[in-house]
């Protein structure tokens, strides 16, 4: 596993935008197992970048940030506007950011928020970049087969924005990242790129059992390795925010890790699994911010297969904008 320590960068604020349209699940057995009672879904016209744009505008406005100070924008999504060009440049222009802004797309899902945090904070620290914007989200509802009862009721849509700042007083950000491409077919949209298979389906496929095995066996191990590597004390961590896969899987991971459920947060009931957006969405909707001196551990895991764990002790409050609905 890659263990990375990054200095001088702090998370300043987070915002989240969701579509107004709510899709309600009726299958009681499914709700009980997955924890997903309803989720938000976009109509055809709204893309992930539209949700992230609204989240970014609101956050920039709430924090009174000078857009000229934002010199890096990273967009993490598996649902970009186009196959090419990247969507981050489109967002740079739409948001009115300077041309000196470095733009990058990262096509990761469930682990994407942690990978995005690693990449943006590493580049900001190297270049002493004052402000950075990490936009993370997905509109997976557009990729599911409406008749597939293992995916359609599970996935919701959301777009988020996280503002980071160069700050020499901040505590180090710690990361542990890894991948296992052997399981790449466990969560896949076949025929969605250059490699064409035998059948023509272009809808999301999820091998529930293999993903469950990965989540409940691999993730407790890698989180414990991360904690051991950086000699952290699990009992002193204030908030654990994990990717919201589904209740059954998350509860089993918490149990294996010996984490008290009181220290975890879940946004599954109202928003479902929002792929790359789950961690920032959960912070906005369930925690409403994070206080100075609190320590936080995030863990994203899934499609790839890929995983990332993040820890820091806050030296400032993380501000959260009010949830945006468009």
């Amino acid at each position: 596993m890659s263990f990375i320590k990054i200095e001088n960068i702090s998370i300043v604020g987070i915002s989240t935008a969701v579509p107004t349209q709510t899709s309600i699940n009726n299958n009681e057995k499914f709700i009980k197992a997955t924890g997903v009672a309803e989720k938000r879904i976009t109509d055809k016209k709204i893309c992930t970048s539209d949700l992230c744009f609204e989240a970014a505008e609101k956050l920039i406005s709430d924090l009174s940030i000078d857009k000229n100070d934002i010199e890096i924008l990273i967009f993490v999504t598996q649902t970009p506007d186009y196959k090419l060009p990247v969507t981050s440049t489109i967002l740079q222009h739409k948001l009115g950011l300077q041309q000196s802004c470095l733009c990058l797309d990262i096509p990761l899902g469930c682990s994407g928020y942690v990978y995005g945090l690693t990449t943006i904070s590493s580049l900001m620290n190297s270049g002493k970049i004052k402000k950075g914007l990490l936009l993370v989200g997905d509109t997976i509802s557009k990729e599911v087969d409406k008749d597939d009862q293992s995916t359609e009721p599970l996935f919701g849509d959301a777009g988020t924005a996280t503002l980071l700042s160069y700050d020499e007083n901040s505590n180090p950000m710690l990361f542990g990242l890894g991948s296992d491409g052997e399981g790449y077919e466990s969560i896949i949209i076949p025929n969605s790129g250059s490699r064409v298979g035998n059948n023509e389906t272009k809808k999301l496929f999820l091998n529930g059992i293999d993903v469950f095995n990965f989540g409940t066996n691999k993730i407790p191990k890698v989180v414990n390795q991360f904690i051991d590597n950086f000699t952290l004390d699990k009992d002193n961590i204030s908030h654990f925010v994990f990717h919201q896969a589904n209740k059954f899987m998350n509860d089993k991971i918490y149990k294996k890790l010996g984490i008290s459920v009181d220290k975890t947060s879940s946004s599954l009931k109202k928003f479902g699994n929002t792929s790359s957006a789950t961690i920032p969405l959960t912070i906005v909707t369930e925690l409403g911010g994070i206080k100075k001196d609190n320590s936080i551990l995030f863990c994203g895991f899934g499609v790839g297969l890929s995983w990332g764990t993040f820890y820091t002790k806050m030296n400032n409050d993380i501000f959260c904008s009010k949830l945006i609905e468009i």
Binding site: F30, A33, I209, D210, F248, K252
Partner: protein, 76 residues
């Protein structure tokens, strides 16, 4: 590893416990069997026997006895 206990643990994965189920029942024929029950069974086998069963392995099995036998083999 006891067959009787395994059968009980298997049946406990259903919300409404099915009747008339034996070790030779084809688990896919049980009324309420679905992908969520399959996850419950995989999870139970992991918890109770510390054995990992993949989606591909489960796919190749037919009866509850088949599951019992593969778990038994994996325990060694």
């Amino acid at each position: 590893m006891e067959q009787e206990k395994f059968l009980e643990q298997f049946i406990a994965q259903f919300d409404d416990e099915p009747t008339g189920v034996t070790m030779d029942t084809d688990f896919r024929d049980i009324d309420d069997w679905d992908s969520l029950t399959a996850l419950g069974v995989i999870s139970m086998i992991d918890d109770e026997y510390n054995v990992k069963l993949s989606g591909e392995e489960l796919k190749s099995l037919k009866s509850i006895r088949d599951i019992f036998n593969i778990v038994k083999t994996k325990i060694g």
